[in-house]
Symmetry: C2
């Protein structure tokens, strides 16, 4: 099944979307919002599945054209958004660029930060920010939405709680990060509202591309229309989704609708840290990585962070070229109070 939330009020209007993203149908009689569906998932699952099958078979007279631009994030606001950093190559790069060693424990104990979840951006909403000097960056990631997860769940239990898969632009303000992390309490102002893909899908929609708790497809990132990254989300992912969920649930349960992110997708390739698409590599899923490689190679970064007017697009296509989740496509704009 594929789900989207059309913009409407604070929580959107839930629709089922056809596999090819061309048609959708409201399911208000079953669940008006995605959160309400997740809250009562086991009961609703067969009813939603039957509706989805009919939608894909073309037998629903009330189906209408699906418009990605009319979507909020699948959960326009959520009760939990925890973002891991499962592609340790990304973390190693960040550290290397500032001359710090990667602690060996980072290969066995996931990094994860608690994100804010009350005001997500829609997938086509602008990233509105007061100052370019904040160092506006995107981070292309995969995320899952869970059902209820008991405290201290095993990775097996955690894996069974995965309800939906989607993409994220975890917007980051690089200029605010060093000072904020130096205070010791983690990210806050440096992680503004994130945006998610128009569509969230059940894992079975991914077919063979969903294996071992990972999405084995390239994450296509385009910056101002130029290919920027196509790193495979199934490669170099040290901690899979069940491991990240279990980490988040170690000392507390997670509520239905919890979103757990993978962290920036990053492939090491056959090089020290990866290389740009123009150099024959798979590129990157955030600007910071390019700047770190530039810093390691030349002593300073040369690629700028995003400026007002810049656009980033993040999507994933299956083996047949079909967009799986629809596209996040966001332009940076100045904020005026």
């Amino acid at each position: 099944m594929k789900f989207a939330s059309l913009k409407h009020g604070r929580d959107g209007r839930l629709v089922l979307v056809s596999r090819d993203l061309s048609r959708c149908v409201a399911v208000a009689d079953l669940a008006p919002t995605l959160q309400s569906a997740l809250d009562d998932w086991d009961r609703l699952l067969p009813l939603l599945q039957a509706r989805s099958d009919a939608l894909n078979a073309g037998t629903l007279p009330d189906a209408v054209a699906f418009d990605e631009a009319a979507c909020a994030s699948p959960l326009p606001r959520a009760y939990q958004w925890a973002d891991g950093s499962a592609y340790v190559n990304h973390v190693e790069l960040v550290r290397r660029a500032r001359g710090a060693e990667l602690p060996p424990s980072f290969w066995t104990d996931p990094l994860m930060y608690q994100g804010g979840s009350d005001t997500f951006l829609g997938p086509r909403d602008p990233v509105v920010m007061a100052d370019e000097a904040y160092g506006i960056d995107f981070e292309g990631e995969v995320a899952v939405i869970t059902g209820d997860v008991p405290m201290a769940a095993t990775p097996d239990q955690a894996g069974q709680a995965i309800r939906l898969v989607m993409l994220v632009n975890d917007v980051s303000l690089r200029g605010l990060i060093p000072e904020e992390l130096a205070k010791g309490f983690g990210f806050f102002q440096s992680k503004p509202s994130s945006a998610f893909s128009p569509v969230a899908v059940t894992p079975d929609e991914l077919g063979d591309a969903w294996a071992d708790g990972k999405v084995h497809l390239p994450l296509l990132v385009t910056l101002n229309g130029e290919p920027f990254g196509k790193a495979n989300a199934g490669v170099d992912m040290t901690f899979n989704m069940p491991a990240l969920i279990a980490h988040a649930a170690k000392t507390r349960p997670l509520g239905a609708g919890a979103i757990i992110g993978s962290g920036t997708v990053s492939n090491k390739q056959d090089t020290a840290f990866g290389s740009a698409i123009k150099d024959g590599g798979v590129g990157y899923s955030c600007i910071a990585e390019v700047r770190m490689i530039e810093t390691i190679n030349t002593g300073k970064p040369s690629t700028p962070f995003m400026r007002f007017g810049d656009t980033v697009r993040i999507e994933m296509r299956d083996a047949a070229g079909q967009s799986v989740f629809g596209a996040i496509d966001q332009t940076v704009q100045p904020y005026t109070r």
Copy 2:
């Protein structure tokens, strides 16, 4: 007005509570849950106020006895929980105990961490934890619930968005904190589910005790029936609630129902760092402070963290001795998977 959420489903059943906490009345015809009231606050305010006035006048036939033990937290789950650390004495103590200086910026730039908000505990729920060795501690705090706050709001705008005030037990796992903070991404496993007071009140219910964005009343903390703390939440609060909200909203809007906490209430008194109630002081709002003072004085802590069976009670009484928010009262219990 005073609000509570009786335990019912995932979001509780909203009731208005009389000023003396003796009676309550369901308001399902206006708003079934507190979140739904916050989502539509301006429209509902006069309707809720009229109902509350009638409740306090004793003219509502459907009012029933109010039972704090039947309550979930006012928001059983929330979209945003951000906790400041506004009592800088507390922060200075933590640092001093480990021999670190307090950066001067800590007096001008609030510390704040992003909390998890999907599975709050009820005010009388046990704190269930797998291992005493996690170093289970309570943190007594004040918190506010906001309406919508625009990005980059001024403290004035932020103050106007304060809808409700309540108390928090920000449960902390001291044994997990050092290693987690060393990873650089802030708290996660070391901050399990928090619990809030049975009742959340509009600021006007506090009368003169609500001034300058602070609650000027002692926070009464009892550990296993013994008085442990009575620090005044209006004293030594370096950043008031509007300043904390504005900090949280610097790079993103906050959604209606966002909870912002004060951090552990801590009074410096006339001593270097405060002293215990038995020594004539106002005591403490968490065990960690006592242990830090013990460490500073004798080289090591002697007061243990909470053990299975230990109970903490947190409340606030007005000048007439009336409990304002009802009491958080929680016992630590072992968790079995």
